[in-house]
């Protein structure tokens, strides 16, 4: 589904990602782990067009996607979250959700004059979907609140369900459980599993090994910008190279 070939990226003299090749075939949830500074987030930024590649190629469903802009890559179906939740603080929870659907008719200035009825229909349809989703994550009572008033954990949940509104084919999550409390982590994991069962494909950066083992069916390990191992999570956990990279022994 997603393939990276010989991807390179340097910042000044530092090689953040060097000759990294990996291929996500048919796994439903793929993990990406590695010590801090190993290039995980840089890799995400390269895949989503937020950073240009130095060398290498990235393919999504057989189509080359490197060199495209972030909003174009989102249009192709790869949608991401950020390490620190990025919500729209001075917009309500519902507006955060309603923003996400792609190619809305009402986003064109001309259609506001000509297609009022179709815009209303579209809004009603999106609203229904948004209400169902925020019900699932238990934010219904906050739907008309500014997103800034949500707790950090709730903001992360909002960011996750907002992605579903964007009709993605592949979802990239950058540390979905970082900085939130254990009960919310539970909720987050259940949500991801539920979304997986509904047919979504995930690629997740995660530090919490318990989460990785429970969620992922394949894991890539990154160290110093290079892929040092890949495999099933249980196998990865006992791989000496991985232990060395993480513990330095």
């Amino acid at each position: 589904m997603l393939e990276l070939k010989q991807v390179n990226k340097s910042f000044g003299g530092i090689r953040a990602v060097s000759d990294c090749s990996l291929e996500i075939k048919s796994y439903r949830i793929t993990g990406l782990i590695g010590p801090n500074g190993s290039g995980k987030t840089t890799l995400f930024n390269l895949m989503t067009g937020f950073l240009p590649l130095d060398h290498g190629e990235i393919f999504f469903k057989g189509k080359r996607i490197d060199g495209f802009l972030p909003h174009q890559i989102a249009e192709f179906g790869i949608v991401r979250t950020f390490q620190l939740a990025r919500i729209f603080p001075k917009m309500t929870v519902l507006e955060n959700m309603l923003l996400a659907p792609p190619r809305q008719i009402g986003e064109k200035l001309v259609s506001l004059w000509l297609k009022g009825k179709r815009i209303r229909e579209e809004e009603r349809k999106n609203l229904k979907k948004a209400l169902t989703l925020i019900e699932i994550v238990g934010l219904s009572h906050l739907k008309n609140q500014f997103a800034a008033n949500l707790s950090y954990g709730q903001q992360k949940l909002l960011e996750l369900v907002r992605i579903l509104m964007a009709e993605p084919q592949m979802i990239l999550l950058d540390e979905p459980t970082a900085g939130i409390n254990p009960s919310l982590i539970r909720k987050m994991m259940e949500l991801i599993l539920k979304m997986r069962d509904a047919g979504k494909v995930f690629f997740i950066i995660e530090h919490n090994m318990d989460v990785v083992i429970e969620l992922c069916d394949w894991v890539f390990v990154l160290d110093n910008g290079q892929k040092i191992a890949e495999g099933k999570p249980e196998a990865i956990q006992n791989d000496p190279r991985v232990i060395e990279a993480y513990l330095g022994v």
Binding site: F82, L98, L99, P102, I105, L112, G116, I119, E123, L127
Partner: protein, 300 residues
Amino acid sequence: MDLFLHLCIMILIYIIFALSLNLELGYTGLFNFGHVAFFGMGAYASALFTLHHVPFELALLISLAIAGGGGFLLSLPSLRLRGDYFGIATLGFGEIIRIIFQNEVWLTKGPMGLPGISKPTLFSYRFTTLPQYFILALVFSILSFFILRMVIRSPFGRVLRAIREDEIATEALGKNVFRFRVKSFVTGSILAGLAGALWGHYTTFISPSDFTLSETILVLLIVVLGGKGTEWGPVLGAILLIFFQESLRFLRLPAEYTRYLAPLQQMIFGTLLILLMIFRPEGILREKGKTKNVGIETGQ
């Protein structure tokens, strides 16, 4: 009565001007410090065309197109800049346009200004007297208000606010941030051009010194005081500030003090802006948590 009508007309014209800036500054988060350029382009274009006997309806449309086109051309390079740099670019553009008005004497008569701009005739109805012009300004400002409200409450307006809140997240959700910004900027420029054209035909005399940075600061102050990013904020701000500004002008002062009036006004505006930033940065009206969407109830 005449004074009151004059005041109302000025307020209505500035409401249009402030609404146009509010779309850019309040909703899209674009710090445009050269907004007066489009006001001036509208004023000059409409004045010049009517002075060359083009009918007012057509002259107005052309001047809106010129202001919008100017906005489009400026936006292509400048909207690629971030935040403060964009502000500086627009500031420079505002000055460039003013200097063009001043130096292209063959076209604009330079610092002498353009006298004798005709009162407008719309569909063979002439708006010459104050009450007539009041109605004209009222119609245009109501029209602008409702058009902008429709734009802001639409999914398009929602994307603009999202860009203001977090441009990276908006981009990551597949919205072409640059394109939305250009559209917002051009729409704002066209409306500023409308305000400028109405103003020119009202005062019947325009000169480059009418379109200086202090005009931009005045309209910025109107938007910020009233409450940027609110539907009624610019209206309220225009009523308060234009009332204040115009009444200062008619203040009866002993002759030896009148020369202090203009600097005094600048001082008061400056102080007001500082106090506002300290005590109520969000303006008199503030954005509410609950916003109405196009034709649907998000009810409880």
